[in-house]
Symmetry: C2
Subunit: 447 residues, 2 copies
């Protein structure tokens, strides 16, 4: 692993008030942050002005009374990202959209359109929808885990095919000859597969970055295989440096197994640093966040990962109960981790729930300590960057850009100005060549 | 009909270079207008600064080599309108989305999100997709005309139901008590119909205008019935004052038959005024536009309304051939009108095709003449306003705002500043009350 300083790319979650279930109560946030466009613009501009490479909008397709408050009422990703495109200049704009409940022609268009209107800044976080209830909003049964990933695989093949409908120089727009496009640079897809039949072409040209960046966020084996085949970037957990590095290696090996190289897929663990001028400051900030949720909240929050299982029926001070397969079709890698931690550390239900709702971040302390840790992870090859998901967004971001980024910059691990123009530039990825391009590197055969 | 002056609401098509098939060649436009965000922003701001009530983005889900050039390569409506939301302040933002190739949960979210982030400026133009080829991009058979309208009817019932998922005051966000929402103001839809099963609720609150404005653009009997039941505004043709007035009365009668009042649905014929300082100026501008398309272009353009039928196989100077049912499942009202005009006026194929591709607008001439005509139509009750679809966008809009709007304003038929804040304000429509609101006017029962 290289230890020559080089900038660490950061993304930032754009999820209203922050990642904590009750972040809306945190005094640094406006309470309606999840539906306040001005707030999103402020956050995106703060990030952009400080050299953060991209914003990342998560999403979900099902809510009920027990959902995380700011999930009940939030902007839809395509519309939010497009609105931010005209309010910002350089920051990348990535968002979640599910392959289980959408049509590839529509999704290919929406991300291509966002990509083109933002000047090449779009990223699509491909998810398969963990929540069972999503099917009830779309009038069809929720596909089981393996089937969802089979659908996603063919879906990506179709979307990337549609994105290459027109060669880069297809639109000549020559007024003298009346030639709008070159017919031989128009590519019909004619996809006929197990799940999708899509004729094409897409009615939009390629963007300055060729194709939108593909993010992938599933950490199961199926998710890793999908990432290895298609993803430009992976959003994952950050349980520890060692585990994250192991995961990173797995994904890169999966990419290599699909004929790509290790550098073709960038790994971004999500972290929520809490920074104070002193250790005590940081601890006090963490305690203020943890105080936002009591035991009832914590049990409901835990239930969310287990198909809204009702944990209030158990003795909170007994060990985490046996849960069998509950949740295995939803957030599988998260529920496996929770059960494993509880078993290994002998945790009570109360401890499991409170740790789930207000996790102590693995980056907490003084600016120097947090900067040291980030550099240690990065230099150790644990990841290619980080996605910042602050428990309390406004305070977390302001502390991070004020206290940590200048230290990283002084040590050669950050640049406060985004130098490139596209999201691929910011991530150190080359422009995506069309599969029909003759001067491209040998293209991976999709499918 | 009242002849007291009152402002005429105008909308403007946002369709790249204009409505003419070869508008991209017009010297007033940038050739890449359909994918040039800066161009759209300039047009939208010109419109907004001159008191035009809304922009309107048309759409289509199928292209081939014979499509209108700027349809081959254009932004997708949700992303474009959302990008314009942050680049403008008051202008309404309406766009087309098809009920035949989308999911109501997704579409309800996207328009609700656009509506909320724009401060209550969204409108949805409900179409059922005329083009047969759309089905081949979505892997399913294109439903026939009547079935498409049955689907659209239930679809709108679902979407409007989802938009009322949360009462206006549902989100209390009281930090002291920890109450984010009032549980009794949360409404699950539980729709179980012939085409759709949707549980709900939607994960977004109502906007300042209650619900996005519903536009409807089909002029067939099925379209008129759908408009009478659901539409706040109708986009239609403007063949002549009398025919437009007859159509307007039909839609208003349909609204009354559905328990609504005539004023609940506003009729907007699409017109493409050509204005010159003199009659000769205006004629020269029209001839310059007509010269953009030759006979081959015209025959291909005509074919577009008839399932891309190949008209080049016929003698152009013979009468329009018998076409039977070709095109009846697509642009039915347009094809009926073309065939009727050809029959009644004894037109050759050449004349039909040239008139189709470069129609002489029914508002052409000096500023005084065009202003007179607009006032005459408006005062005669032919419509409630107009949607401006200039053949050549940049020239057409600049002429209209410079030469015609000041005359209308001097006569009390225009205000150059938008006074309201929401699209409903601009159209003279009240805020849409929730179906659950107790202080609402008696709500029409949907379905």
């Amino acid at each position: 692993m290289s230890t020559t300083p080089r900038p660490i790319p950061f993304g930032i979650m754009l999820q209203g008030p922050g990642s904590h279930m009750h972040a809306w109560k945190h005094p640094s946030n406006v309470p309606d942050a999840s539906v306040n466009l001005g707030y999103y613009i402020d956050i995106a501009r703060t990030a952009e002005d400080n050299g953060i490479a991209f914003g990342f909008v998560a999403d979900g397709l099902y809510i009920n009374e027990k959902s995380i408050p700011h999930f009940l009422n939030r902007f839809e990703p395509i519309s939010l990202l497009s609105a931010l495109a005209t309010a910002t200049k350089k920051i990348g704009l990535a968002g979640t959209l599910s392959t289980s409940y959408s049509d590839p022609f529509t999704v290919a268009r929406q991300f291509a359109s966002l990509d083109l209107l933002s000047g090449g800044r779009a990223g699509w976080n491909v998810v398969t929808s963990p929540l069972e209830g999503s099917g009830r909003n779309y009038g069809r049964p929720h596909p089981e885990h393996a089937l969802r990933y089979q659908i996603a695989d063919e879906y990506l093949e179709v979307v990337q095919g549609l994105w290459d409908s027109w060669d880069d120089d297809a639109f000549v727009r020559d007024r003298d000859s009346g030639t709008f496009f070159a017919p031989e640079k128009f590519r019909r897809l004619d996809h006929k597969g197990r799940f999708f039949q899509v004729e094409g072409p897409l009615n939009i040209q390629r963007s300055p970055q060729g194709q939108p960046v593909i993010f992938q966020a599933g950490s199961s084996d199926d998710g890793i295989a999908l990432a290895g085949k298609y993803a430009d970037a992976v959003f994952t957990h950050a349980p520890s440096l060692e585990e994250t590095r192991t995961f990173t290696q797995k994904v890169k090996n999966s990419a290599i197994a699909h004929g790509r190289s290790a550098g073709d897929v960038k790994i971004f663990p999500g972290i929520g640093p809490i920074v104070g001028r002193t250790e005590e400051d940081a601890e006090a900030k963490y305690q203020a966040i943890a105080a936002l949720a009591g035991l009832d909240d914590a049990l409901a929050y835990l239930g969310r990962f287990f198909d809204h299982h009702d944990f209030s029926q158990y003795d909170p001070d007994a060990p985490l109960p046996e849960l069998g397969d509950i949740g295995a079709n939803s957030f599988r890698s998260t529920t496996d981790r929770i059960k494993q931690d509880a078993r290994e550390q002998g945790l009570s239900l109360r401890q499991v729930a409170l740790q789930a709702v207000s996790p102590r971040p693995n980056f907490i302390g003084t600016p120097e300590h947090v900067a040291d840790e980030l550099i240690r992870w990065f230099d150790a090859g644990a990841s290619d960057g980080f996605i910042l998901g602050f428990a309390a967004q406004r305070e977390g971001l302001d502390d991070f850009v004020t206290l940590v980024l200048p230290l990283l910059e002084a040590r050669g691990y950050h640049r406060s100005a985004l130098e490139g123009q596209t999201l691929r530039d910011h991530l150190g990825l080359p422009r995506k060549a069309s599969r029909y391009s003759t001067d491209a590197e040998p293209a991976r055969k999709a499918g």
